[in-house]
Amino acid sequence: MSELTDLYQEVILDHNRRPHNFRVIDPATAKQEGYNPLCGDRLTLYLTVEDGVIKDVAFQGSGCAISKASASLMTDAVKGKTVAEARSLFDRFHQMITSPPGSALPELGKLSVLAGVRDFPTRVKCAGLAWHTLKAAVSEQAAGPVTTE
């Protein structure tokens, strides 16, 4: 039960119930779809990027508590950051949710509440969906919808 309560911490359940930045940005400088065909999680990420800085970021979509909370926490974390900083955050977040249980965790502030995901390998894609979508949204090449498959 302890791993389960680590996964579904109150902070995560709060973000699931009342996600932050859960809205549309129109017009946005970038809009990216993300989709997990395995479970049907689907989100649209909106970005306003000016001079390499993420001025605004928001999302819409439906998904499990983990994917929704992760998207909500991500939007809080990257707002005001440069694109380069957001990419670096992606790398550290990805490292956190895929590191072997028991190993040292990168310092990630509020994002650390999602560290419990690493004990649930089948849920890593849920936590990663918003981040993969962000990575695609800020990539130079235009891309189709991102999927986690």
């Binding site: 389960l4 579904y8 395995l38 479970c39 049907g40 999680d41 499990c64 508590a65």
Partner: protein
Amino acid sequence: MTMAIAISFDVDTIRADFPILASSVHGKPLVYLDNAATTQKPRAVLDALTEYYTSSNANVHRGVHYLSGKATDQYEQARASIARFLGAAEPREIVFTRNATESINLVAQTWGRANIKAGDEILVSAIEHHSNIVPWYMLAAEKGAALRVIPMFDSGELDLEAFARLLTSRTKLVAISALSNALGTVTPVAEIIRQAHAAGAVVVVDGAQAAYHMPIDVRALDCDFFAVTGHKLYGPTGIGVLYGKAALLEAMPPWMGGGDMIASVTFEHCTWNVIPNKFEAGTPDIAGAIGLGVAVEYVSRIGMDRIQAYEQELLAYGTDALRQVEGLRIVGTAPRKASILSFVMDNIHPHDLGTIVDREGVAIRTGQHCAQPVMDRLGIPATARASLAMYNTRQEIDALVAALHKARKVFG
């Protein structure tokens, strides 16, 4: 008679035949309710695999030596067992494939490519698994044919009046599942076949789910093709069958080329073997076929009618039990259903439910169940699904319900 059969069904004895059912998950007794994905294997099947590799292993249809003859006999006996199980007229109407997906693709790539032309129509239904949509989508795209969809009602029941309207002289093929994996709907497949034949169309039945839930008689159904996968029928993975009427199979061109499917080969000219060998290029999954033969003998000894009667009781019990869970809605409420219970819960995504009940030892499937059009049609992203087999019990349904209450607690 039916009553007596149902009462005499001894689930404890059946459970004892399945070694994995005695195992634990996260420190809790395993409650395996994901049978629509794959069923567990009885010891008789596991023993048959070991026995084959221990004392019969050789290639089939090739050698003059003792072991090759023994392996060939066992492989062909398995084919005969499966023919009997499905009610086929003769064993040569049974083609071994990898699974139901391959069986359907075989029909699309051989019968389909030879017979479907531009302007023709292929009918599928709204409840289909991706494996009975995509092969036809690919064929239609290649040939300039049209894919039409028999709609369903919100309950998951097919709209037969719409089917009758869709059926025209342009309809060349109807591909229909006998049982929906996502909703549990039992389709009126005999009636669909009768009407399709009256319109001159060939019918492919996806029997992947139906084969382990109800008695099948392909001759009584009069279907042209019937696709089965072994691993949902208590058999090994990697083996399935395609039933096809002999006359149709004989007229069809081969699909994969290679050893065993030919009568003679020169660089200038090849001729094909007789059915079913014409469709079995290369060394088949011999052990898998033998294992599946043992699996159908195993369920035949119990009796598919008794299995069906027992599972219907479980379905009724499970439906009542789930309906009493606060905030739970059953998805798929057709009048004729098999023991598949799809559901959603208020404010808890199916994926979160799946993770939480797993920690209680309860294995259910969550997601779209390879039936994205069903989810889109119902306007839901996913469902949780408990699919019950002959070895499941009322106590296991109670364990699921208790785990769902726990999920409610976690989510406050």
